[in-house]
């Protein structure tokens, strides 16, 4: 099972990274969301995998590690806040700049690139 989950984490990471490398804002946001899934699973799995062992006292005698769970729980919520912020930045950038490229300008315009540096 561990190898399967590790494979999933790796695949999610790869998909997320690929989308992060796209030039438009929306795929980047989607990629970041994907990457956060991978990161959350990764952090969660560092507590090792346990079946039937929710960390609620008195329900089992083989508890899952609650610490990574607590960390990931807040990470999920913060991840949402970050995604939201990024999305709004993307919207704002498009509204102000007129395009949705991550650099704020469409590629292939060599002169404007030099000026903006």
């Amino acid at each position: 099972m561990e190898s399967l989950l590790a494979g999933c984490i790796g695949f999610l990471t790869a998909c997320g990274v690929f989308l992060l490398l796209r030039g438009r804002t929306f795929p980047v946001v989607v990629g970041l969301t994907m990457l956060s899934y991978a990161v959350n699973l990764f952090l969660f799995s560092s507590g090792r995998l346990t079946l039937q062992g929710a960390a609620v006292l008195g329900t089992t005698d083989n508890y899952a590690d609650p610490l990574p769970q607590a960390l990931v729980l807040t990470a999920i919520v913060i991840g949402f806040a970050m995604t939201a912020y990024l999305v709004i930045l993307a919207i704002r950038a498009r509204a102000d700049l007129g395009n949705d490229h991550v650099d704020g300008k469409l590629p292939g315009n060599e002169s404007s690139r030099k000026e903006s540096r």
Binding site: M1, L4, M34, S45, V56, A84, I91, R92
Partner: protein, 931 residues
């Protein structure tokens, strides 16, 4: 503490000239002199203790963990240098009062000068090498300010830039050397470093450390081949040249050689590098000095030559040579500072520094001429003056050394040659300026300077004579104390006498004097020869080299930073692959020995769905709505994975966040294009796939390696104490609201800040309303479907009830503030979707940014409340109560904290979605008021 004032007084003195800027010039100068004068008095007060061989220390703790302290050490060497810095500094203040004209800003000059004085005092008094380096850099900066004091002159600006570049680059080398020394010895404390000479010299890094260290010293002390900045720094006002470029700053490099002598010296590498650099500098400086027509140029090259002499002495490696080096530091400072000031007087009173114009000044300024002649004679090494004594010791030491094996005899010969040229240029200074006919083409008639302008020169010349006649009485103790501090061991026997009988050293002196006179008489031939050589303009060469360097740096920079974020990300990710991948290569096997769980059909199906939907997200990423649907499947599978692997809290959170995220992204698509144009070239796509796969492989492997390794966790503590200490059985929730409550507080604060940031970003956004979707289809006419409206309305109370239930049971069963908050938010958002912003607003007019604030306040107050009971922030409390009807109920302060979390989550989520959603409704408010 009194010790610290030696350093603090000059620092405070920086302000004095600025504050007294409106006073009369003399008053301003006098006020400026007060702090260094007091510092000098304190220094002299410690004199007897230092002469007795003590080294006084004072430490003020600053960041002890990083080894950063304000640490002062006053030993013989520091005392000697402090005396030079403060003593000559005071004379310079007096001199500058008359040297600067009415147009020059005197307060600015004095402020820079005092800043420089502080920096120098900091170098010599520091007992912490990082602190020392800080002051070292400060001398470079203040020297830059002083050289460019007449910034309207191009040569001053160029000279200042050059000096800053050279000494600044050396300073960086020095920093590297000091950091490495700190690594080797484990301390930045000078005492420790000086005491670990053996450790340092046996360390593998020693050659590197030594070279970096010497680069720092040699650039500062203008050693060949870095000497070129010093003549160009002569564009500074003459008081600066006298103070910085002869007596103090250029000696800072020498000071470091002396200071680190016990730690760094004693190896063959040291002898070779230091002595050969010193010897070359000695010869080059002495030779070139002869051909300079500018008075200050001659003195500058002569200074370079004398600095080379001192360096050579420290490079010889014998104790007596080091003593001679210290002695020559004193002597050179006195005669060279007085010569510079004399040159300044001549320049000031005759309007020129060109020795081809200045002739026969003896008739116009006999007193100054006498003083200058005595000082120049000391420079040439004429008996009965101080220069003779240290030069004699130098000659003796050149005869004693065995640096070059059987070729060692070359060194005394070359030393004599340098002595010959030294006599020749000193003679030229005296004869060309004060005799040799009449002045040619001077703009004004030369005359004696004001009485007090001459006084500093007089003081120094008198010292030259006194030391020359009675060295033992005048500087014996000082020299002994300073030498003791340099060597770190007992000072060998030496004799400070004028007459040592007829010996080879005396012969060398006589040859030098005679040869120098001979060369001067026949100088015409030498000048003719020198004129046939191609001249090298140091400053132009330097600037063209700098230009090339800057150009290449810019090319590299624009290659790295071409404005494309994608490119930066590629670099970062490559770094990830390398940094995270390399350690994996050293791992024999990924599998760590922990048996794997079996794969059943459910897991396999889930994993397959996860992989397929993730892949579909990537494949369909141009069709944004499809990609969004696909990624929601990924999120769903992730939350199922959480359920499967015993994390119900995570599953609930993931599920509710998933809903909110997808709604958010849907809303965002209203404002963004619905399709991504195809723009990446195929090679680029291949590159990205390759890079992404590498990252994925590395991360997946790490994850597998972690999961299959046995481990011990600190969570047993939480499991054991959750019920007894935190009063709850859901350990995850207890960790969040109790054990790690402070973290959670920080996290909800971040959440609140993010939502407020979004709120701010969306106000005053340029309005644009797409009237149709990406493919030109108009929006649906039915804005709020009846079915959805009805269902959502009836769902609301149910959803709220569920969230209250989840909230309260959270302490003992899966649930809690985060999840309940998200459920509430989803229920509320549903109302917005079903009915529109206006409808909700007319029924529930809440400013969500206030909700966020209230939530944070509730959490904060809960935490602060524990102060009332004299407990640390966020200490939790719980007890059980019998309440009629409900039975035994547990009340915990953590519930109040969780309520804060709940309110913040609701407020933030609603603020984010409602702010964005408000803009998508066509019933937009006419003016953009806040919600």
């Amino acid at each position: 503490m009194t010790l610290l004032w030696i350093l603090l007084l000059p620092l405070l003195g920086t302000l004095v000239p600025v504050l007294t800027a409106n006073w009369r010039r003399s008053a301003c100068a006098m006020a400026t002199a007060v702090p260094p004068a007091f510092a000098l008095m304190i220094l002299l007060y410690y004199g007897s203790a230092v002469f007795a061989g003590e080294s006084l220390r004072y430490t003020l703790g600053w960041i002890p963990l990083l080894g950063l302290d304000i640490s002062i050490r006053l030993d013989g060497l520091a005392f000697l240098f402090s005396l030079l810095i403060l003593g000559i500094g005071l004379l310079i203040i007096l001199y500058a009062r008359y040297y600067l004209s009415e147009q020059d800003s005197m307060p600015r000059f004095y402020a820079y000068l005092m800043l420089f004085m502080t920096a120098m005092m900091g170098i010599v008094l520091s007992n912490n090498v990082l602190q020392l380096w800080l002051f070292w850099e400060l001398t470079s900066i203040s020297s830059f300010l002083l050289i460019s004091y007449w910034w309207h002159k191009s040569e001053a600006r160029r000279g200042a830039r050059m000096a800053l570049t050279v000494t600044g680059a050396g300073g960086l080398c020095l920093l590297a050397a000091l950091l490495l020394l700190g690594q080797i010895t484990g301390s930045y404390d000078l005492d420790v470093i000086l005491a670990s000479g053996a450790v340092i010299q046996q360390h593998g890094w020693y050659p590197l450390v030594l070279v970096l260290f010497l680069l720092g010293c040699f650039t500062k002390s203008a050693q060949f081949p870095f000497h070129f900045w010093l003549p160009n720094a002569m564009a500074a006002p003459t008081p600066v040249s006298a103070y910085l470029h002869s007596a103090t700053m250029v000696k800072a490099g020498i000071f470091l050689l002396a200071r680190f002598y016990p730690a760094m010296a004693g190896t063959d590498l040291w002898f070779l590098l230091v002595s050969m650099t010193g010897l070359t500098t000695l010869l080059v400086g002495a030779y070139l000095a002869l051909f300079k027509h500018d008075l200050k140029g001659l003195l500058a090259y002569s200074t370079i030559s004398h600095l080379g002499l001192i360096t050579l002495l420290f490079g010889m490696g014998t104790d007596l040579a080091a003593v001679a080096g210290v002695f020559h530091i004193i002597n050179h400072a006195t005669f060279k500072a007085s010569l510079f000031m004399a040159a300044g007087i001549i320049d000031h009173e005759s309007g020129s520094r060109d020795m081809r114009k200045l002739n026969g000044l003896w008739h116009f300024m006999p007193i100054t001429a006498t003083l200058a002649m005595v000082a120049a004679a000391a420079m040439a090494g004429v008996p009965l003056l101080n220069g003779f004594l240290s030069k004699e010791m130098f000659f003796v030491e050149t005869l004693q050394q065995h640096l070059l094996g059987s070729l060692s005899w070359i060194i005394p010969v070359l030393a004599t040659v340098a002595g010959i040229f030294s006599v020749a240029y000193s003679t030229r200074f005296i004869h060309d300026v004060f005799f040799n006919g009449k002045p040619k083409g001077l703009t004004k008639t030369p005359h004696e300077p004001p009485r007090y302008m001459r006084m500093p020169v007089e003081v120094l010349v008198v010292l030259c004579i006194l030391v020359g006649v009675a060295p033992g009485y005048i500087v014996g103790d000082l020299l002994h104390a300073a030498s003791f501090a340099v060597l770190g061991t007992e000072v060998p026997e030496y004799s400070l006498a004028i007459w040592h009988g007829f010996n080879v050293a005396l012969l060398m002196s006589i040859v030098a004097l005679a040869g120098g006179a001979l060369i001067y008489i026949n100088r015409k031939h030498l000048f003719d020869f020198q004129n046939t050589l191609p001249g090298v303009d140091a400053i132009t060469t330097f600037e063209s080299i700098m230009k090339v360097l800057v150009k290449h740096c810019q090319q590299l920079y624009s290659w790295l930073d071409n404005g494309s974020l994608q490119r930066y990300l590629v670099f970062l990710l490559m770094g990830v692959v390398v940094l995270a991948g390399l350690p994996l290569l050293q791992l024999d096997t990924l599998f760590g020995g922990r048996p794997e769980l079996p794969v059943d059909a459910v897991n396999a199906t889930g994993a397959a769905m996860l992989l397929i939907s993730a892949f579909a997200t990537v494949v369909f990423h141009r069709q944004r709505v499809v990609a969004l649907l696909m990624i929601s499947v990924v999120g769903l599978m992730v939350s199922i994975a959480f359920t499967r692997f015993s994390a119900p809290d995570l599953a609930l959170t993931q599920l509710s966040v998933e809903v909110v995220t997808i709604i958010l992204l849907m809303l965002a698509l209203f404002f963004l294009p619905h399709k991504t144009p195809k723009q990446s070239s195929p090679t680029r796509v291949i590159r990205d796939i390759g890079l992404a796969s590498m990252v994925g492989v590395v991360i997946g492997s790490i994850s597998y390696a972690i999961m299959t390794r046995p481990f011990s966790t600190i969570s047993d503590f939480f499991l054991a104490n959750s019920k007894t200490g935190g009063g709850g059985t859901n350990v995850v929730n207890v960790i969040l609201v109790d054990f790690r409550g402070f973290d959670t507080f920080g996290e909800i604060a971040v959440l609140g800040i993010a939502s407020l940031g979004i709120f701010k970003l969306l106000t005053r956004i340029p309005v644009f309303k797409p009237s149709s979707d990406g493919e030109g289809r108009p929006w649906a006419l039915e804005r709020h479907p009846v079915l959805l409206a009805t269902v959502s309305q009836s769902l609301l109370p149910l959803a709220l009830m569920v969230s209250v239930f989840i909230f309260f049971r959270g302490h003992n069963l899966p649930g809690g503030g985060f999840i309940a908050g998200l459920v509430t938010a989803v229920a509320l958002i549903l109302q917005y979707i079903a009915h529109g912003v206006e409808w909700v607003k007319s029924r529930m007019n809440i400013e969500y940014q206030r909700v966020v604030a209230v939530g944070l306040m509730v959490a904060l107050v809960t935490g602060v409340a524990s102060w009332l009971f004299n407990k640390p922030f966020l200490t939790s409390w719980f007890d059980y109560f019998d309440i009629p009807l409900l039975g035994k109920v547990e009340l915990a302060s953590a519930i109040a904290f969780d309520a804060g979390v709940y309110i913040t989550v609701v407020g933030s989520t609603m603020l984010i979605l409602a702010s964005l959603g408000k803009m998508t409704t066509s019933h937009r408010p006419v003016h953009t008021e806040s919600i």
